[in-house]
């Protein structure tokens, strides 16, 4: 679905303050996969989010979406139809003062008929559990609710891939849960490819595959077994999920815990079979 090959990205290329954000990054994201991109601030993960849908073009290397090259300006519209991005601050993503108008913005840009736009708005708001707020304004909503509206706005375009660029970073734990529930459901039930960029390892633990970024490079890539490599995670400036940390400590003390424990539920199952 998305192929990143030998991508290098330099901010302010040629200027005095030029900064290389990505050095030779390569990976692929398959159809229907839930991938977490983790890394601490400045590891280049947010630059990647902007490369996925052509907001930025790589300085060298290739980013391909569904076979389309994101450096090709003519393909950008189709690329953005395929890859939707939800950003960090919900307040900076809304274009209208009425929720349904905001969600309608994407499909309106696609040039759909009025009835279809209305159906998509209804569907998208239902998918994020905000259908009853359709006629309301986003200003009174909580952060989690606002971010769900932003997700609905992206969903209404019906992209195949949804990229979340630290979309939970500004939310409280409750809001974070709301958003994560919506995302995992979309991935499981609607078979949507999800790329979740985050530094919360608890969220990354929900993904099928985890890509760890460090200083603009892919430091590690793999399934949940990656949480066994504590040094590697910590050298990338990250922390293991709480459940994995407890499991690791227990293993050190000689308790035999089998499998990769990353979620609280898994830890409970491992301790009380």
């Amino acid at each position: 679905m998305i192929e990143v090959r030998n991508v290098k990205f330099v901010y302010n290329e040629g200027a005095e303050d030029e900064k290389e954000a990505l050095h030779n990054v390569s990976f692929t994201v398959n159809d229907g996969e839930f991938v977490a991109l983790v890394g601490h601030n400045g590891s280049g993960k947010s630059t990647l989010a902007r490369l996925f849908n052509g907001l930025l073009a790589p300085s060298s290397g290739i980013v391909k979406v569904d076979g389309m090259d994101t450096s090709d300006k003519k393909a950008l519209f189709d690329i953005r139809k395929t890859v939707g991005v939800v950003f960090q601050n919900p307040d900076n993503q809304m274009v209208a003062s009425v929720i349904e108008d905001d969600v309608a913005f994407g499909p309106e840009n696609l040039g759909l008929a009025s009835e279809e736009i209305s159906e998509r708005v209804e569907w998208a708001l239902k998918s994020v559990g905000m259908a009853e707020h359709r006629k309301g304004t986003p200003f009174r909503l909580s952060g989690g609710q606002k971010q769900r509206i932003a997700i609905a706005g992206v969903l209404a375009v019906k992209p195949k891939v949804m990229v979340l660029d630290e979309s939970t970073a500004m939310l409280d734990p409750l809001g974070r849960d709301e958003v994560m529930n919506v995302i995992t459901r979309l991935n499981r039930e609607e078979k949507m490819t999800v790329i979740m960029i985050t530094h919360f390892m608890e969220e990354a633990a929900l993904a099928d595959r985890i890509i760890v970024m460090r200083d603009g490079r892919v430091a590690a890539e793999g399934g949940k077994e990656i949480f066994r490599k504590r040094e590697l995670i910590e050298s990338a400036g990250l922390e293991l999920p709480v459940a994995a940390r407890i499991a690791a400590k227990l293993r050190e003390r000689g308790l035999d815990i089998e499998g990769d424990v990353t979620l609280p539920g898994e830890l409970i199952d491992a301790l009380c079979p």
Binding site: R80, N92, A96, F105
Partner: protein
């Protein structure tokens, strides 16, 4: 915060609220033009009755409508006083004289006319904003101005700028409050001193606000791009404005009022005698 978002919109359901925003905009324009054609007091009375009927239909409390006059109260009084004081006539006898100040009957009449005109001019548009959301107004304006796109005026862009501005007002207000609180926590003083001192105290608020607005604009542009925005090109709308019977009825009433005012003014068909009868 809420007041700014929706302007002074008064959220009830009424025939006036449901009118098409385009019709309401055009009606208000016609209403303003009509007021400038009025010379006789019977004309003002007619418009006042019309306005009262519209307010009654809109189910907005009359007091709420009249409140919009507060902003212009000073202007109205000032203009009226000036026009009384500066009216002079060689032929007529002043009603009252004190030194160089002479007050004439015609001066009083002129002042009354001017006052009535100003008051009616304010009340009409305020009924429009009380019964129409800013979003609906923007949509109406965009639709009305669409023909100008033919001569390459960026109507769609103007409309989207307006709607984003409306959308950002509450966000920026919130941000201002946050910055002010942050400065207050570091002993900034916004509430004392003369006007210059206070204005100066606002500089450390305005600069971060300015900077963050640019950052916001940047992020919003990215988010819009990500949602396939390409300007007006190939864009459709979910809500299409449609005219209903009530819109035609309202247009008819408004045109009739305008016609009667023209008749009164220019004595078409010699009908102005009607006014004399009332």
């Amino acid at each position: 915060m809420k007041d700014v978002t929706i302007g002074q919109y008064y959220p009830v359901s009424s025939p006036i609220h449901r009118l098409d925003p385009r019709i309401k905009l055009l009606a208000v324009i016609l209403y303003i033009v009509a007021i400038f054609f009025i010379q006789k007091f019977v004309g003002f009375a007619l418009v006042a009755v019309f306005l009262l009927a519209a307010v009654f239909l809109s189910r907005v409390p009359l007091l709420k409508v009249l409140r919009s006059l507060r902003a212009v109260l000073f202007l109205v009084t000032f203009t009226m006083i000036i026009s009384v004081l500066f009216y002079s006539s060689k032929t007529a006898e002043p009603l009252w004289a004190w030194g160089i100040i002479k007050i004439y009957k015609q001066g009083l009449i002129n002042a009354a006319r001017m006052g009535l005109r100003l008051i009616l001019l304010v009340l009409g548009p305020s009924l429009l904003t009380l019964t129409t959301t800013p979003t609906a107004l923007t949509d109406g304006l965009e639709s009305l101005l669409k023909p100008l796109a033919l001569i390459k005026l960026p109507i769609h862009e103007l409309a989207i700028i307006m709607s984003i501005a409306l959308r950002l007002i509450p966000t920026l207000m919130e941000e201002t409050e946050k910055i002010m609180n942050a400065q207050k926590a570091r002993c900034a003083d916004f509430d004392t001193g003369n006007i210059f001192k206070r204005a100066k105290a606002l500089i450390p608020v305005l600069i971060p606000l300015f900077v963050s607005s640019f950052r916001r604009a940047d992020e919003l542009a990215d988010a819009m791009d990500s949602r396939c925005y390409r300007g007006a090109k190939g864009r459709t709308r979910m809500k299409r404005l449609k005219l209903h019977f009530r819109d035609f009825a309202a247009s008819f009433v408004m045109l009739a009022l305008f016609f009667v005012i023209l008749v009164l003014r220019y004595n078409w068909f010699g009908w102005a005698f009607v006014a004399a009868l009332i």
